[in-house]
Symmetry: C2
Subunit: 306 residues, 2 copies
């Protein structure tokens, strides 16, 4: 095998109670990449469709992630990368992470899997840093590992896959506005009242316990954000109405996907997810802003060969 | 049955990464109480041994907790309570919580269990508030429910029992100094740097995931406290040496038990726990302060009839 075609799924980071630590992998929404082994050494981005992104390796997240991997083992070959973007940049569902994860996954497959999935997260994070300005694993971890993931800590990177119940579906409503991650970060406070931090870690603990025990009610009670959402929601037109519409329609919880502007909801079962997606979309129509939406089962596999 | 004798176990709250939300129930260390049903209505504390505590019902945590329960259903009888304290007040292993939990557990048993265990936590919290000044469930929850517990939130109280692996042992070293909870609270900051809060909820999530999956390494990596311990440890003589001695001897983690002054360690297996207890005790000798210590398996049952 000297060529591989891969699917690089979109992801939701933060999930209300897990700012910068929790993530979730989606199904049916993602980029495609083709990676080709070459006799010439080095990494070349040969084609990008669906987005206006740099072909220069050192300026492309997939290129930087790929370099992080190959520079570690210096293989006797090189790689060409084609990127077919389906996830819009800046949508808040891990567009750059998908490219970074896809590159390192594909190269690892072509090399006969010298690296474990957690090691791939580490390499992908180097690419992701090019887009976000710092090394974050909250989108690359679920993209590589699938399912729900927790970034326990950095130094060294410690990423855990969390077991989750089978009937969880995610809805993502993506308002077609540009919201820069830097602007989303700028509204955040540098400190959190201790009582709010306690509330947040109670909810995070409840959410993880709910995932392990398939307790949908506990998952629902825990899907709250008293730390980030109160500052960030103002940047997203119609956010409160869409969230309330999701909850009224029976979503387990709803919040900002990653740094926004996408709004997510988690639901039990596909029927409920479709009802919630309809309610969220109907509510968002009032803003007059174009949008698209996705309904997705939790993708337990993550990035994969197709 | 119109008389019941009960064992009210000691507990460890906070457990490094779960300030105000996590707790753990101990075995072999606890108070005993005798509760007697009487034809005369009301709650009377008839005897207290092992501590100098008020017999007046409204000034005794067991009395206040008992009143919270009986005032809800107004039974056609009353109760006498004898308290035999073995857990020293102000030791940081849930002395007042044990009395509060024991009272409501015993009365509930005598009344034929009209209330669920989570409801008993709510009543016990009312008694605990008399001692600590505010309603906290992080000690009463593990005392009533057993095992590891998470207080997901208040309003309404939401307490979850967390599954835990079978080989976990706790060591508690209790320096015989007085450390008032109010003093322990006074050193805490009112706000936490966002980056530290993120570190803390990453660790809390990892700890809970480690409990569900019996991953002792993950439990160990997660048993860290970047929020409270840096402020509180100065109140406890010898803390850093004892903690380091515990870790050097192979403890999974070590920290301040509740509001202190007790220092706890978690260990895998009884042999390791004994080794760790010896190392902690040897280290603490340097302070010249009297102390006692306990080695305990996790008590999965909680308060019980004996």
């Amino acid at each position: 095998m000297n060529e591989i075609k891969i699917f690089c799924p979109a992801t939701i980071a933060n999930l209300n109670c897990g700012f910068d630590v929790l993530g979730l992998c989606l199904e049916g929404i993602g980029d495609e990449m083709v990676i080709r082994q070459t006799t010439e050494k080095g990494i070349r981005i040969t084609k990008i469709t669906g987005a206006d992104l740099p072909l220069e390796t050192a300026k492309n997240v997939a290129g930087v992630a790929a370099l992080a991997l190959v520079n570690t083992i210096n293989p006797d070959c090189g790689f060409e990368i084609e990127i077919h973007k389906k996830i819009k940049a800046g949508s808040g569902i891990g567009s750059s992470s998908a490219s970074a994860a896809g590159a390192v996954f594909g190269i690892n497959e072509l090399l006969g899997r010298p690296f474990t999935k957690p090691q791939l997260v580490d390499f992908a994070m180097k690419g992701e840093a090019l887009a976000s300005g710092c090394e974050h694993a909250d989108n690359v971890a679920p993209c590589v590992l699938g399912g729900f993931t927790l970034v326990r800590g950095y130094n060294p990177l410690d990423v855990i896959k969390i077991q989750s119940p089978s009937e969880l579906f995610a809805v993502v409503l993506h308002p077609q506005i540009e919201l820069k991650t830097s602007d989303s970060r700028a509204v955040l406070p540098s400190a959190v009242p201790l009582k709010d931090a306690i509330t947040q870690w109670g909810n995070l603990g409840g959410f993880i316990a709910g995932l392990y025990t398939s307790d949908y009610s506990l998952i629902s009670r825990s899907l709250r954000d008293v730390v980030i959402e109160p500052h960030r929601h103002k940047l997203i037109p119609g956010f409160e109405n869409v969230k309330n519409a999701a909850l009224d329609a029976g979503a387990l919880g709803s919040g900002i996907s990653g740094a926004g502007p996408s709004i997510f909801a988690l639901c039990k079962g596909q029927d409920k997810a479709e009802k919630v997606a309809y309610a969220m979309s109907s509510s968002f129509l009032d803003t007059g802003i174009a949008f698209d939406f996705h309904i997705s089962k939790v993708n337990d596999e993550g990035v994969k060969t197709i």
